[in-house]
């Protein structure tokens, strides 16, 4: 079950021609796919495109009605390879994943797909995880488009433009027999807007039809000599076809005055921020009307030479706004102008930062600087010579005050005790080389755990520790991999590799029952009943099947002592070969979402329900915060006591505590302090509960009264 349900929203996918669709970007993309008569869709989750997969999963009834096949692919490579269905058959297919990490994984399949080319439209929707909020390395998808020669669309970030780009993408793909990538940036995926819908279309040919009448064409298979012909075909046939399509269909747009002395060329995705900068410079109105000439590249690859040269006609200078580096587009345009012998000055990264996100301020500064240099007459007086209103307040002081707030483990996360145990084992046995992986468990690199030295890619944690395998080594490496990464490719690249190479390291597989970091989607080892997918395949079995001999399974990660003992054993055992620990407990976020409504209902209905919560005896807590250095739970925090005798704040557990048990277990395993207690509230206690309670109360009360009647009692003590 995914973190977010789109069950209600997907009903919007049924809207017919002329009706207004209102909703999020990803939902609009899904609607556009259906309007285009897509035959099959698939992909792999990952921000910012996770929700697109969730929408598709929740829309399976609607997809089914239309005869559209949906595939939750094992990886981005799988998703891209799936598009092979469009090679011989005129079926439109779409795959979606996060870029650039997903594109990296997909690039083998992408290259093969691009080489043979496609008959049916093949669209790859990549969620560009670039800039603020991104969790990955900062690279460009553009390079992949260039190297495999697939076309790249980067539409203006509004719903009508994105929807149109999906339609254009399929047609472009078919017109040029080439797969097309459609890139949507992170905020665009989540933008809330409107467009006028069209009717959904059944695919003219379904995958079932294709299976009934198989086709093959050796010329489309990547094998010599066909592969050499493919390369020529790409430049001789497909490229010109794509350029013609983009030109004739006016995929790229021109706005503003056509006779200005300066112009701005941009990736479509940059359009809104450029208009905002122009608005702030007094050169555009609320609706984007402006006198500055704008050339908006909704297709950023391939570029259309004559279109660009025509835009530059009569212009003294043109600014290329291209986010990310290297600046492929700027270089290409510079070459075009040079070869055409034009005098128009082309500038780009001189006025804008070479790297990094083009935020509002960056855009304002960059465009302001460009216009100052090449068209100062356009700028209003106050922009040319601003009367400074004052620099605002000095925030230098504040910078040292405001703490960083990186993402971390949720309240009650079952991965927290795994890393608490790791930290405790390191206190015993010394520091180890720890290889991390992608997933929630990567938060272990942050305080308070500060574990992990590298992260090399999804499912590659143990693989990235493979060099650390020496017969002379006195200490073993520890590596982590999540269940998501394990099934994505870790089973072979990490586990299989370790078995085959007789790696002596310790591998911890963090099994939280979901692909949790991407939004809680089900995977092979999920324990949930999934209507359309096959789940409940134990990781243990797979690991054993790979040939691992030393395998331990921990089915309750909150048992810090056991976790610690198992890690210690793995690090010290005489046994050779990989030591694999599968640490399983359900993702608390998902568990709460699943259980809470039921529990609340049961309590209301008068059923007996036991709800745990942790607490701290504040007079026993000494305020040394050792517990927090082994936890980082958002629910476990500090509070000031109203007692001048106490200097430091004490530990305190807030109402969000889910009673996972970590606090008590850590206090126990690390021998911290006796201030934690677990209070299980028995809602709607039964007769027996109440009888036992009153008997105990009576006996305990007797002892309490006996002692308390013989001592001084301070009401405020």
């Amino acid at each position: 079950m995914a973190e977010r349900s789109f069950a209600k929203e997907v009903e919007k996918l049924r809207l017919g021609a002329g009706e207004e669709f209102a909703g999020e970007g990803i939902l609009a993309i899904t609607k556009a796919l259906l309007q285009c008569g897509v035959g099959y869709v698939g992909g792999y989750q990952g921000a910012p495109i996770s929700h697109l997969m969730d929408v598709l999963a929740d829309a399976q009834d609607i997809l089914g009605e239309l005869g559209v096949h949906f595939e939750a692919s094992a990886s981005e490579a799988t998703a891209t390879a799936m598009l092979a269905a469009s090679v011989h058959y005129p079926i439109r297919g779409a795959a979606t994943f996060k870029s650039t990490v997903g594109t990296n994984v997909a690039s083998d399949a992408l290259a093969n797909l691009a080489s043979g080319g496609v008959t049916g439209g093949a669209l790859i929707i990549v969620g560009e995880d670039y800039g603020e909020g991104s969790s990955i390395m900062q690279e460009r998808s553009h390079a992949f488009a260039m190297k495999s020669q697939v076309w790249l669309l980067d539409p203006r970030p509004n719903l009508p433009s994105i929807v149109k780009a999906v339609e254009d993408g399929f047609e472009l793909s078919e017109a040029s027999n080439t797969p097309v990538m459609l890139q949507v940036r992170i905020r665009c995926c989540h933008v809330h807007g409107r467009f006028i819908a069209k009717d959904n279309k059944r695919p003219p040919m379904s995958v079932a039809d294709a299976l009934a009448a198989p086709r093959r064409d050796t010329g489309r298979i990547v094998l010599p000599p066909a592969s050499f012909l493919h390369e020529k075909e790409k430049v001789a046939k497909r490229w010109p076809a794509a350029v013609d399509f983009i030109r004739e269909r006016k995929i790229n747009e021109i706005f503003g005055s056509d006779h200005g002395s300066v112009g701005i060329v941009m990736q479509g995705g940059m359009y809104n921020s450029i208009i905002r900068a122009l608005q702030r410079l007094g050169l555009a109105d609320t609706y984007g009307d402006t006198d500055v000439s704008l050339y908006v590249l909704n297709a950023v690859y391939p570029l259309v030479d004559d279109e660009f040269l025509a835009f530059c006609e009569g212009k003294q200078a043109v600014l290329v706004v291209e986010e990310g580096q290297p600046n492929y587009i700027e270089q290409a345009f510079a070459a075009m102008l040079h070869k055409a012998g034009r005098g128009t000055k082309l500038v780009g990264k001189e006025h804008l930062p070479m790297a990094g996100e083009y935020t509002g301020q960056v855009m304002l500064d960059g465009i302001g600087s460009f216009l100052h240099a090449y068209a100062p007459h356009l700028l209003p007086g106050e922009v040319r010579a601003p009367n400074k209103l004052g620099e605002g307040v000095d925030t230098a002081d504040l910078v040292n005050v405001v703490p960083g707030r990186p993402p971390g483990f949720c309240v009650g996360c079952p991965e927290r005790p795994i890393f608490a145990a790791t930290k405790l084992v390191e206190q015993e046995l010394g520091k180890h080389h720890i290889a991390s992986d992608i997933g929630c468990h990567l938060f272990s690199i942050m305080p308070p755990f500060e574990l992990g030295a590298t992260t090399m890619g999804y499912g590659l944690g143990p693989a990235s520790a493979s060099a650390f395998n020496s017969p002379e080594a006195k200490r073993r490496s520890i590596s982590f991999v999540g269940d998501g990464g394990f099934w994505h490719n870790g089973l072979t690249s990490s586990i299989g590799n370790a078995v085959f190479n007789k790696n002596d390291g310790v591998i911890v597989i963090v099994d939280n029952f979901y692909s949790a970091a991407t939004g809680g989607q089900d995977i092979l080892s999920s324990r949930a009943n999934n209507k359309t997918k096959s789940t409940k395949h134990p990781i243990d079995e797979a690991v054993k099947g790979m040939g691992v001999k030393w395998l331990r399974h921990i089915d309750r990660t909150y048992d810090v002592g056991k976790m610690q003992a198992t890690l210690r054993e793995a690090l010290t055992t005489e046994e050779k070969g990989p030591k694999v620990i599968v640490a399983s407990s359900e993702c608390m976020l998902n568990r709460q979402r699943r259980e809470r409504p039921g529990i609340d209902k049961a309590i209301k209905a008068g059923e007996r329900v036991v709800k745990p919560k942790f607490g701290v005896d504040e007079d026993i807590c000494t305020g040394d915060h050792a517990c927090m250095r082994l936890s980082g739970c958002p629910s476990l925090s500090v509070k000031t006591l109203d007692d001048p005798l106490r200097d430091d704040p004490v530990a305190s557990i807030d109402q969000n505590c889910v009673g996972c048990g970590n606090c008590g277990e850590v206090a126990d395993a690390a021998v911290l302090c006796p201030s934690f207690y677990r209070a299980d509230v028995v809602h709607n206690p039964g007769r027996w509960d109440r009888f036992l309670e009153s008997a105990r109360r009576a006996a305990i009360g007797l002892l309490q009264r006996r002692r308390e009647s013989r001592r001084l009692m301070f009401a405020d003590a």
Partner: protein, 527 residues
């Protein structure tokens, strides 16, 4: 070719009708910022506006700092071009769902004095970096408040989390109330309430929190009143005998002790009385007498000129030192009737529900020996093999149910060892340590008053149980080891304070070691 004459149409300064309103929400993941953004979008649309909201979800949802961004403009029939993220100096309304997020917004330039209304909940969610310091690592809220006052056009801040909790809902509801109450958007209160109603879930508590925050924001908007209505401590006289109960003889003893406190210089009394209560509560009346005897030694050296700083520090730290954390104290505190009540309140257990309480203990041989008569305890401790043998039997986690009779009775029994405490090993160790430290402080105070005070304050370093306690002891010793190097220096007190502060910064005392190295260089060049 070049057309410099291109006329510029007047684009600047759109009329009020076409103006884009820009609103950013800075929240901590999990606070319900998405719900708030949806409500605001809905309110705007209900009022004939076109609105666009965006967010960066994904990993940032998990307890990290998160931004939601909304732009809106009156619907004139044409689609405005909205930006997808806030720009520096270009935000009309900034809502911070936590105080430090307001600080972050200011740092990022989203708050400007000419135009930004800053609405912030004044409560704190401590970041991990603030929580893991052994001392008090929390950021200064005052600084954020002060900067916000200067940085924003209007600054509306109060504890919106509390309002939400009081009404049984999430902070998004009270944030929306504060936004409505601030009157910065041209929308009616009813339209906000309709948006909440349309959400369909938890409408009633949300409306209640909305309303409370609305009124509060209105109040601030019309007549700014200071947030902090400092509660003055009640007058001393009313406290000394009030709230104390017990057998007649003990009360009489207490009154004698209270009279001794009343005879202390006025500035010392409050702390001394609190300390006295603590030590009497820890042990007995006689122990209180010992406390006051020790106090007298500090007072004898003290005078009004120094504001009795030495005596006040002594009052505080003597009490803490005398109330060391042994098994008896823990057991005693956990078996009191008042503790029962507090736990019930803390976990929100309603009348009629049964509570089961589990305590987490992990005794080691050290704790065991400490609870034995001094002779026997040190006999065992001086025999490593015997100690290790016993440790193997004792040293493990014990989960004790104090709602059950046997678990409770066991702790009750241990708590009852109090009357023999003076004869136990731990007490002997603690008293020796205390005397050494106290004598050291007083001795230095005679020569260098400030240094004496700082030595007393070093007691703050000693806390925690087992390993943490051992580490704290070691830090305490390391700080005081600098005394020899600081001999005769006028700034010795200052350095001890600095060393102590460094020791509270990290777990192992790395900062302290660095600072000690600096101190060690003093020997080469005397001040």
């Amino acid at each position: 070719m070049l057309d410099h004459s291109a006329a510029l149409r007047p684009k600047a300064g759109p009329s009020d009708d076409e103006r884009v309103i820009k609103l950013a929400v800075l929240a901590v993941g999990g606070q319900g910022g998405g719900v708030l953004a949806d409500w605001i979008t809905d309110v705007a649309e209900r009022n004939g506006y076109i609105a666009q909201s965006t967010s960066v979800a994904g990993v940032a949802q998990r307890t990290g700092a998160t931004i939601y961004y909304i732009e809106m403009a009156r619907d004139t029939g044409r689609l405005p071009v909205f930006a997808l993220s806030p720009s520096q100096g270009d935000v009309d309304i900034l809502i911070a769902a936590e105080l430090m997020e307001a600080g972050r917004a200011i740092i990022r330039g989203f708050v400007t004095p000419e135009r930004t209304t800053l609405i912030a909940s004044s409560h704190r969610i401590a970041a991990v970096s603030e929580k893991i310091e052994p001392g008090d690592g929390r950021a200064s809220s005052e600084k954020v408040h002060a900067t916000a006052e200067a940085a924003a056009k209007r600054f509306i801040a109060f504890d919106m989390e509390k309002i939400a909790a009081e009404n049984g809902t999430m902070i998004s509801a009270s944030l929306l109330g504060a936004l409505a109450g601030s009157d910065t958007l041209p929308f009616t209160r009813e339209s906000y309430e309709q948006a909440i109603g349309a959400g369909g879930r938890g409408v009633k508590p949300s409306l209640a929190a909305f309303g409370a925050a609305y009124d509060r924001a209105r109040g601030i908007a019309t007549a700014p009143v200071g947030e902090k209505a400092a509660t003055k401590p009640a007058a001393f006289e009313t406290k000394s005998t009030a709230n104390v109960s017990g057998p007649e003889t003990l009360l009489k003893g207490w009154q004698e002790l209270a009279a001794r406190v009343a005879a202390l210089p006025e500035p010392v009394r409050d702390m001394a009385e609190r300390g006295l209560k603590k030590v009497v509560d820890f042990q007995d009346i006689a122990y209180g007498g010992e406390y006051l005897d020790r106090m007298d030694r500090a007072v004898a050296l003290d005078n009004a000129e120094h504001g009795y700083a030495l005596s006040i520090a002594a009052a505080k730290h003597l009490a803490n030192a005398m109330c060391y954390d042994d098994m008896i104290r823990v057991a005693d505190l956990k078996t009191r009737s008042t503790r029962d009540k507090r736990v019930r309140k803390e976990v929100g257990a309603k009348e009629g529900s049964v509570l089961q309480v589990t305590e987490y203990f992990h005794p080691r041989i050290e704790e065991f020996c400490g609870t034995l008569p001094a002779g026997l305890g040190s006999y065992i401790e001086s025999r490593p093999k015997l100690a290790a043998f016993l440790d193997r039997r004792i040293n493990r986690g014990r989960h004790i149910r104090t709602d059950g009779f046997s678990g409770f009775a066991m702790l009750w029994f241990i708590g009852g060892l109090r009357r023999w405490r003076r004869r136990l090993l731990r007490h002997r160790i603690e008293v020796e340590h205390l005397e050494r430290w106290y004598e050291l402080a007083l001795a230095h105070a005679r020569e260098n008053y400030a240094l004496g005070v700082e030595i007393l304050n070093c007691r703050r370093l000693i806390k925690g149980y087992s390993d943490t306690h051992a580490r704290a002891q070691s830090k305490f010793d390391r700080v005081l080891s600098a005394l020899a190097m600081l001999e005769g220096r006028e700034d010795a007190a200052d350095w001890i304070r600095r060393l102590r502060e460094a020791a509270l910064k990290d777990e192992k005392g790395d900062m302290l070691d660095g600072a000690l190295k600096t101190v060690a260089t003093f020997g080469d060049s005397p001040a």
